[in-house]
Symmetry: C2
Subunit: 336 residues, 2 copies
């Protein structure tokens, strides 16, 4: 109801509207007396500038966009995203930005969404999560010179600003950990091919095996999706092998839980007959039976760096590197 404008504040303070604007923007050239008068009126009436007008004029909306690739259904049950969103809200807020979240459902709507957010200039910059090996958005965004940061990876690596877990390192870390514990047959249940996260963790897994002279066999690798069901099926198959693995690196905690279920159903003793490790250190890891070991990715730091880089890009400040890597660490529980 107090549909206040600078004009009204100006009239009430008996100054020009430009002066009100100057006071608000902290322009040092305004007389102290006037400034006080204006501030008093602003305070008294609770005036707040209209963000719409500000963004039109200043070409800044004060909003960051976060676009995730998952269907709302998958988003709903994925703890990674709630943690990510929460952390980005936190850091964006500290930098004076709001966060607008969009989910790019189907492939065809993806283009629509980024067009929407980008071309309408509704947001000042974009954080993109989980880019795919072939991501049609990158060239467009690059060509437009629009500020954006990837959480994940894109090739060529130096083409874009990105923040990422050390996924290759994490895959290697989990595998080497098993090797150190004496395992010789180590399987890997991965996600979809073409997703960098999966390809990278798989590469780390393979590397560790080959460096230890254990050899890599595609029989011990199961590609699929990120579901518990996939973990269950893949584990069932692996356990039916003539020479089943004694340890499994699962690409995700949910997948690991599926694997765990398959093993428990067959009476396999965990961790003695079969060791399992997941990724992400999801909150539920400590609640499953037995509590699931997991490679923790530092989501908060990931969010902080991504937000920080994006804000710097938007505000034209210098960003020293193109790519930032956040280390993972292994959380040992009862399944390894």
């Amino acid at each position: 109801m107090p549909e206040l404008t600078q004009n009204q504040i100006a009239r009430l303070s008996r100054v020009s509207q430009a002066t009100v604007s100057r006071v608000l923007r902290g322009d040092p050239r305004v007389n102290e007396e006037l400034r006080q008068r204006v501030l008093a009126v602003i305070e008294k009436h609770g005036y707040v500038p209209d963000a719409r007008a500000q963004s039109l004029r200043s070409l800044r909306s004060g909003i960051l966009g976060l676009v995730v690739h998952r269907s709302p259904r998958r988003l709903a049950s994925d703890p990674f995203f709630s943690a990510l969103i929460a952390a980005i809200i936190e850091f964006a807020g500290k930098a004076g930005y709001h966060l607008c979240v969009d989910a790019a459902r189907a492939i065809q709507s993806r283009r629509a969404i980024y067009e929407e957010l980008l071309r309408t200039r509704r947001v000042d910059g974009l954080i993109l999560v989980e880019p795919q090996t072939q991501d049609e958005r990158m060239p467009r965004l690059l060509q437009e010179g629009f500020p954006f940061v990837l959480i994940g990876r894109y090739e060529p690596t130096d083409a874009v600003y990105s923040v990422d877990n050390d996924n290759v390192g994490a895959g290697r870390m989990a595998t080497e950990y098993f090797i150190r514990k004496g395992h010789r047959r180590i399987a890997h249940i991965s996600g979809p091919r073409g997703i960098f996260v999966c390809e990278d963790r798989h590469a780390g897994y393979r590397c560790a095996l080959e460096e230890a002279g254990l050899g890599y066999s595609s029989d011990l690798v199961a590609w699929g999706d990120f579901s518990e069901e996939h973990g269950y099926r893949a584990m069932s198959r692996l356990l039916s092998l003539p020479n089943p693995p004694t340890a499994v690196v699962a690409v995700d905690d949910l997948v690991a839980i599926g694997a765990l279920r398959a093993a428990k159903e067959r009476g396999v003793c965990i961790p003695h007959q079969l060791a399992i490790i997941g990724f992400n250190d999801s909150p539920f890891c400590q609640y499953v039976e037995p509590p699931l070991s997991s490679v923790a990715v530092d989501i908060r730091t990931l969010a902080q760096m991504a937000t920080d880089v994006l804000v710097k890009l938007i505000e034209g400040r210098e960003v020293p590197q193109r790519r930032y890597i956040v280390p993972c660490h292994l959380v040992e529980r009862q399944t390894t």
Copy 2:
């Protein structure tokens, strides 16, 4: 780079800028030939209207705000919110709106955030989650006539538009379920006093007990917070009672898991010596051991109704009721 405006499209199509606007808004009065010409140019150059200018002029930003009360830390690990956010994104998107999420951390920043979102007119309307018994924002929002919907409850009930679980009904449902199963000593581990969700579920619990003639005893009720730790401590205390309960209604799944842990540590057999039920049917319920029974709240419907009501309010369409109740249902697993 193609920093296109209607003006440029107009020049390229050799029409006036007003005509371009009319074509875009689907004004029927434009000559078919001109319309085609304009549309061709728009298509060719990939023009999209500037949302900032549109919102300034039309007084609509096309953005809904979601404000949650939790600290980013608690937000990060709460599956309720990821599900809620995901669903709201979905339904807002279908209605042509984006979603801006803000977390109101400390009490004092709460006021700042709603001022920010509301008075700057950055969003067209607000969805507020978990209002408290004393919520200083309500009077302000009401007074401003700003469109907003509550997910939760506020008194007087008819003062605001709200969508809610049937929390009283749910508390009663869980308790009656235990009574039907023959339990006589049924405890309740609740959350903080003054949170409607907790007060309501507690009221339903109490009601069911009294109607069944079992009597209500505050010894069997533990108020606290929403943490696993609280569940653990409360359960430990309850189990030390001279006459411990045989069934527990926990206000939240996480609290239930804490209770479960306390019971398992003491060698209490579940569900035979002690039955436990949680609330929310969180994704991890099926992964704990034994799988946790839970009263499921229909988050997707909650989100859908809230979004639907809010969009109607914003667009000036009629909203038949002030308050909408979404029923809960009981998901029976191995702890009951």
